[in-house]
């Protein structure tokens, strides 16, 4: 079992650009959540996808959008990047049933640097 995988590992963009981050959930998991972790901070919830729809959203602007595909993988898109978007972006997956219900498994993250 590969666990949660994310790509790319690192990314450098300039202000105003757009970025897409990718996540493949753990086998058997159908729910994907995204978190932003700024340096020295705890992760902050961005949104969660289930059945290809955004189910819940944190306090992030519309510049942050996402998508979930039929195979449960997910993308996080950020438009009009600014310096404050520099962070580690974490993807977490969870099942909707079974013994791990209500537990989120995290990927290694994508480190985004905005110059």
């Amino acid at each position: 079992d590969a666990g949660v995988t994310q790509s790319p590992t690192h990314l450098i963009k300039t202000r105003g650009q757009q970025v897409t981050l990718r996540c493949s959930p753990k086998s058997g998991h159908d729910t994907v959540s995204w978190y932003q972790q700024a340096l020295g901070q705890g992760p902050q919830f961005i949104f969660q996808y289930y059945e290809e729809e955004e189910r819940q959203r944190g306090n992030f602007p519309d510049r942050f959008s996402g998508h979930q595909f039929p195979n449960y993988s997910s993308e996080l898109n950020v438009n009009a990047l600014w310096l404050g978007d520099s962070a580690l972006y974490l993807c977490a997956s969870s099942p909707t049933s079974g013994s791990s219900y209500n537990e989120q498994f995290f990927g290694p993250g994508t480190r985004l640097t905005v110059l």
Binding site: S33, G40, G42
Partner: protein, 114 residues
């Protein structure tokens, strides 16, 4: 509003010494409670979780935590730390009945003195 407070930004303990990391939460009802560990350049690994039942929870790597409703606390403990325990530790809460939106504390960095 829901929140998690980890009052200690950085703690240093000697290898073999006991450890307690503090966590206080603010929530309207009994939430789901978690402790995660993050090593440099790594994602988050779940150490333990509390949903209901016994208030003393055992986790991986020899860690345990105790839920105290009266104090709104969920402190993490380990009787004897190892050098490999050096990492960032995050306490987190989620609404009872769903871990769909986890709220994290700001973390406590643990250093181990040889």
């Amino acid at each position: 509003a829901q929140s998690v407070t980890q009052p200690d930004i950085h703690i240093t303990v000697s290898e073999g010494a006991s450890l307690e990391l503090r966590c206080n939460y603010s929530y309207g009802a009994t939430p789901y409670l978690f402790w995660y560990v993050q090593s440099p350049g790594q994602g988050l690994q779940l150490l333990l979780k509390y949903f209901s039942g016994d208030t003393l929870v055992q986790g991986i790597k020899g860690f345990e935590a105790e839920f105290k409703r009266s104090q709104s606390s969920f402190n993490l403990r380990k009787p004897s730390v190892h050098w490999s325990d050096a990492a960032e530790y995050f306490c987190a809460v989620a609404p009872w009945g769903s871990a769909s939106k986890i709220i994290f504390g700001s973390g406590t960095r643990l250093s181990i003195r040889p």
